[in-house]
């Protein structure tokens, strides 16, 4: 968490100082590339983990259902909250 906050603060500082330069415009593109790179590395580390791939057949379905339950629960709670507190408006759009 402190790592996240540190890099966030450093980024805010850098962005503020560089706000008049063209460098800031490239962050969108660079961010996209970093996400793709991250997911590639993520996939590679899962693929290279033989034990984990092996356990997929035993626990894969169960894990997928738990994941979907979590996602559905989040959507449900946000829907309820929007209905109750934010008058059904679009939230943080």
């Amino acid at each position: 968490m402190f790592r996240i906050l540190f890099f966030l603060m450093a980024g805010i500082g850098a962005g503020y100082l560089l706000r008049r330069t063209r460098l800031v415009k490239f962050t969108g593109q660079a961010t996209r590339i970093a996400v793709v790179a991250l997911l590639f590395v993520f996939g590679a580390s899962i693929g290279a983990n033989g034990e984990l791939i092996g356990s997929l057949s035993r626990f894969g379905a169960q894990a997928a259902i738990f994941a979907l339950l979590g996602v559905a629960g989040s959507l449900f709670a946000v829907g309820m909250a929007r209905h109750l507190f934010f008058n059904g408006k679009g939230g943080a759009r």
Partner: protein, 209 residues
């Protein structure tokens, strides 16, 4: 349609990595633990740059916002639905199901914590098994969030996208949440959501194990 185009490169990168990794075709430096950390730090840094370069910081300072209660929604919703696992899987206790649901996509920490805490009460074998389920479930949650973020954002707005992303709303999913919402204004909320959940993961898993 646009939603699919958005996540396609991400999915392709993940699938390619998976295949190459399984085929032992990636160099070992790519599998080091530091690399994802460096990339994540880079992402957060760039999100900060976007925030620092805009005027959002000033508007951010405007007092309490009820939207800050969003992490609570994510926790309540995820746990409520995860509890249904007790009806679906015989042999899983309610506490087990809630522990798996308490990861909110934070697969590394949640699986380690479960393996650690559960082995004291249920023995190492049962602990490893539940930790594996938690690891896979939270990886899948992250993947579902990344793949379908544009869709969730379109249907349920920025708050739905942040909530589904769980812990990843502050790093991996952050760029896409911002792009889908079309407004940097969501950054503070997404960061706060991720940090609040990160703090809650050890506490919840500790309570359920």
């Amino acid at each position: 349609m646009n939603a699919i185009k958005e996540s396609l490169p991400v999915f392709a990168a993940f699938a390619t990595g998976l295949v190459l990794g399984a085929g032992n075709m990636v160099p070992s430096w790519l599998l080091s633990h530091d690399l994802p950390m460096v990339l994540l730090s880079l992402l957060v840094f760039m999100a900060g740059m976007g925030l620092g370069a805009g005027d959002d910081l000033r508007t951010m300072a405007h007092g309490f916002n009820p939207k800050l209660l969003l992490p609570l929604c994510t926790v309540i919703g995820s746990l409520l639905f995860s509890a249904a696992g007790v009806l679906l899987f015989s042999g899983r206790s309610l506490a087990d199901c809630l522990a798996v649901g308490s990861g909110f996509g934070y697969y590394s920490l949640s699986s380690v914590l479960i393996a650690d805490l559960k082995s004291v009460t249920a023995g190492p074998e049962a602990a490893t098994e539940l930790a594996t389920v938690a690891l896979l479930a939270n990886i899948v949650r992250e993947m579902v969030a990344i793949m379908f973020l544009p869709l969730f954002s379109k249907v349920g707005g920025g708050m739905a996208a942040i909530s589904v992303a769980g812990i990843n709303s502050m790093d991996v999913c952050l760029p896409m949440i911002v792009r889908c919402a079309g407004d940097r204004q969501v950054i503070p909320q997404a960061l706060f959501h991720g940090i609040a959940l990160e703090v809650s993961v050890p506490m919840l898993i500790g309570a359920f194990c």
